[in-house]
């Protein structure tokens, strides 16, 4: 179910009962993938969980830990970092909603309105993907320059009294959410486009023929039919945003007041060598996201979307 949600989702799925001897072939074909998963996903995951339960080494040397099954690490990080955890999910929620609001009309234009002009459709799609040709670090840094304290944008906003003379943009919640939204829009637009591109416009005509106003047609027909795209798009943005550590970082768009879980994990792992705390946070983040995703997909998948 959760995996189907990522595929962009189709209304019709064809069920084919495989013949018995093809099961063996399928297993053989799956084997390389299984080995890869075992080596590069299961093993590190187990190691991460093990690390999250470690205690400081008996020697007391900084950065050295030994196995200890210390569940208390989790209580410690929750107590210490709960503002960062909460902030991560608030930022992720805000940026996901903003990207959805921006991407849906965009994807609708490319996938539905531009059908008549295939060239424009392809060009628009290329433009959605084009930012990937430049490193996102560079692009994020460019935004920092654009919104820097001396930039004309900030000085104009200050002279218009939208910002106080001592107020700036870089380092604010707004700036981080802006950066997150900007960076993840393509991940929202593409699944939405896949859904909208195969939307049968005759269904919309049928809706209006059955007395539904354009707004009603959108709510009762377009939206529910493209729901698989919305679900996969929101998952594709929400999950990576919740773990992002670039946009909120002090080096980019954030400040000490905008730190997310990713930044805390980074600091604990790389700067203060508190591996158990970093691991515990990572495991917590993963569990929280998994729980939210399962809840979300269950709700939107089984309910009648009316």
């Amino acid at each position: 179910m959760a995996f189907a949600a990522f595929s962009g989702g189709s209304e019709k799925s064809s069920y084919k009962v495989p013949r018995k001897n093809s099961t063996k072939v399928a297993l053989a074909l799956l084997l390389p993938g299984m080995i890869y998963l075992a080596l590069f996903f299961i093993t590190p995951l187990a190691s991460l969980v093990a690390t999250s339960l470690e205690v400081p080494d008996a020697s007391g040397e900084i950065g050295r830990y030994q196995y200890g099954f210390e569940i208390g690490n989790y209580w410690y990080v929750i107590q210490t970092y709960w503002p960062h955890i909460a902030r991560s999910f608030v930022y992720a929620l805000a940026a996901t909603i903003l990207s959805l609001l921006i991407s849906y009309p965009l994807a609708y234009f490319i996938g539905v309105r531009a059908r008549k002009w295939p060239l424009i459709q392809k060009l628009a799609l290329a433009l959605v993907i084009a930012p990937f040709f430049i490193s996102f670090l560079l692009r994020t840094f460019a935004w920092k320059q654009i919104f820097s304290n001396e930039s004309w944008i900030v000085t104009t906003l200050q002279s218009l009294h939208v910002l106080a003379p001592d107020q700036y943009l870089v380092g604010t919640d707004f700036m981080v959410i802006f950066g997150l939204t900007y960076n993840f829009i393509p991940f929202m637009t593409l699944p939405l486009y896949t859904s909208l591109e195969r939307l049968d416009l005759r269904l919309l005509e049928a809706g209006s023929d059955l007395y539904a106003t354009p707004a009603k047609v959108f709510r009762k027909v377009t939206l529910p039919i493209t729901m698989p795209g919305i679900i996969s798009g929101t998952l594709m943005t929400f999950i990576p945003i919740a773990g992002d550590y670039i946009n909120a970082s002090r080096d980019f768009l954030g400040s000490s007041g905008t730190q997310m879980i990713g930044n805390v994990v980074e600091t604990n792992f790389l700067r203060i060598n508190d591996y158990p705390s970093a691991s515990a946070l990572s495991v917590l983040l993963m569990a929280a996201i998994l729980g939210l995703v399962v809840f979300y997909v269950r709700r939107s998948g089984t309910e009648d979307l009316l």
Partner: protein
């Protein structure tokens, strides 16, 4: 919503409709009147503008010029959702995310009709699908989907029901069944039906009035029997059933008939069955109206006679035998004879072809291949 819904069907009038698409004109000066309660068929080949006409009435296209009136009310500027019409789409266009019942209740819910589900259940019962109301449309067969589409439109009791080749995707047997059912439903509910089809048998079988369309205009309109008996143009003569056509010049004119000289033969047409009375004309006769003779029959003023010619092909279709006769200077003539088990005509025989003068029809135009 301000739309008024009448319990019975309404008149439909199209006045001087023209529809241009980029690069071509789909409809040119189309005038049409359909009386309330009638089963009206628009018949024509693909690309003749019949579906465009339907979409104009539904409001899914806007006419370049002209007016559309439903029940005397001008709806030209109305949006689709404001028009008291419902469409059974060729693709059915059932909502895949809703149950069959919810599909049928959709229009009722939009109009905030009381007890939408109860009415939807009744409509499904009418098309004998009450037991499948909780299924999704994609779990149904083509014929069942077609009935859901019909129920979804009918349940709203529209003034005018538009049917866009609704039987096109069904196999022959199911199509015949649905034709009978559709006709029965129309008589039961008394709505005005506007049915678009390219299947001439379907149109003749079901409709009270058939309009034959070609290249964006109506070639001829009338009761199916009248259209078949007396086509006015080459297109109608060939599209609606089969015809033997002959080209000749009017050689003599009497009080109630004209005589046309065709390759040395004189063929008579009653004046009131001929569209054109002078010059070069096309005349014709239906294959089943013609008879074969192995001996030259005695000439008669009430019969047209051509021949002899050679029998090139005999096709046995069960009900009838179809003969293809090549008559020198005239060409191929098709004759259908009832299979009464006494035909002695064999391949290669020399035969004469005759038919009653009153079965001849004269057309207004000439086939494309013939110069004026």
């Amino acid at each position: 919503m301000a739309t008024e819904f009448v319990a019975r069907g309404s008149d439909l009038d199209l006045v001087g409709i023209r529809k241009d698409f980029p690069g071509f004109t789909a409809l040119d000066h189309l005038d049409l009147h359909i009386p309330a309660g009638e089963f009206f068929a628009l018949l024509g080949p693909s690309g003749c503008g019949k579906t465009t006409t339907l979409r104009l009435v539904a409001g899914l296209e806007e006419p370049t010029s002209g007016k559309i009136l439903i029940g005397g009310k001008d709806v030209t500027a109305s949006k689709p959702h404001e028009r008291p019409v419902n469409t059974v789409f060729q693709s059915y266009a059932l909502f895949p995310h809703m149950s069959v019942l919810e599909n049928v209740a959709f229009g009722l819910r939009q109009r905030k009709v009381d007890e939408p589900l109860k009415r939807a259940e009744e409509a499904l019962a009418l098309v004998q699908l009450g037991h499948l109301s909780q299924r999704r449309p994609q779990q149904l067969s083509g014929g069942q989907q077609q009935r859901v589409a019909l129920a979804r439109a009918l349940v709203n009791r529209p003034s005018l029901l538009l049917l866009d080749e609704p039987l096109g995707a069904l196999d022959l047997k199911l199509r015949r069944e649905m034709q009978i059912e559709l006709k029965a439903i129309q008589m039961e509910v008394g709505l005005t039906f506007l049915h678009v089809t390219h299947d001439q048998e379907e149109a003749m079988d079901m409709a009270d009035t058939v309009a034959v369309m070609n290249k964006g205009h109506i070639e001829q309109m009338g009761a199916p029997e009248a259209l078949y008996d007396r086509p006015h143009t080459v297109f109608v003569a060939k599209f609606l059933g089969q015809s033997n056509l002959f080209i000749g010049n009017v050689a003599e004119t009497s009080a109630n008939s004209i005589g046309i000289e065709v390759a040395g033969y004189k063929i008579s047409v009653p004046k009131d069955r001929a569209e054109k009375h002078t010059g070069k004309v096309a005349i014709g006769v239906r294959p089943e109206k013609a008879d074969l003779h192995q001996q030259k029959p005695a000439p008669s003023s009430s019969e047209n006679l051509i021949g002899p010619g050679e029998v090139l092909d005999i096709r046995f279709t069960g009900v009838s035998n179809q003969f293809l006769v090549e008559i020198p200077n005239i060409g191929l003539v098709t004759v259908f004879e009832q299979n009464e088990g006494n035909s002695t005509v064999a391949l290669g025989d020399q035969v004469y072809v005759s038919w009653k003068v009153e079965h001849t029809f004269g057309l207004a135009d000439l086939p494309d291949s013939v110069e004026e």
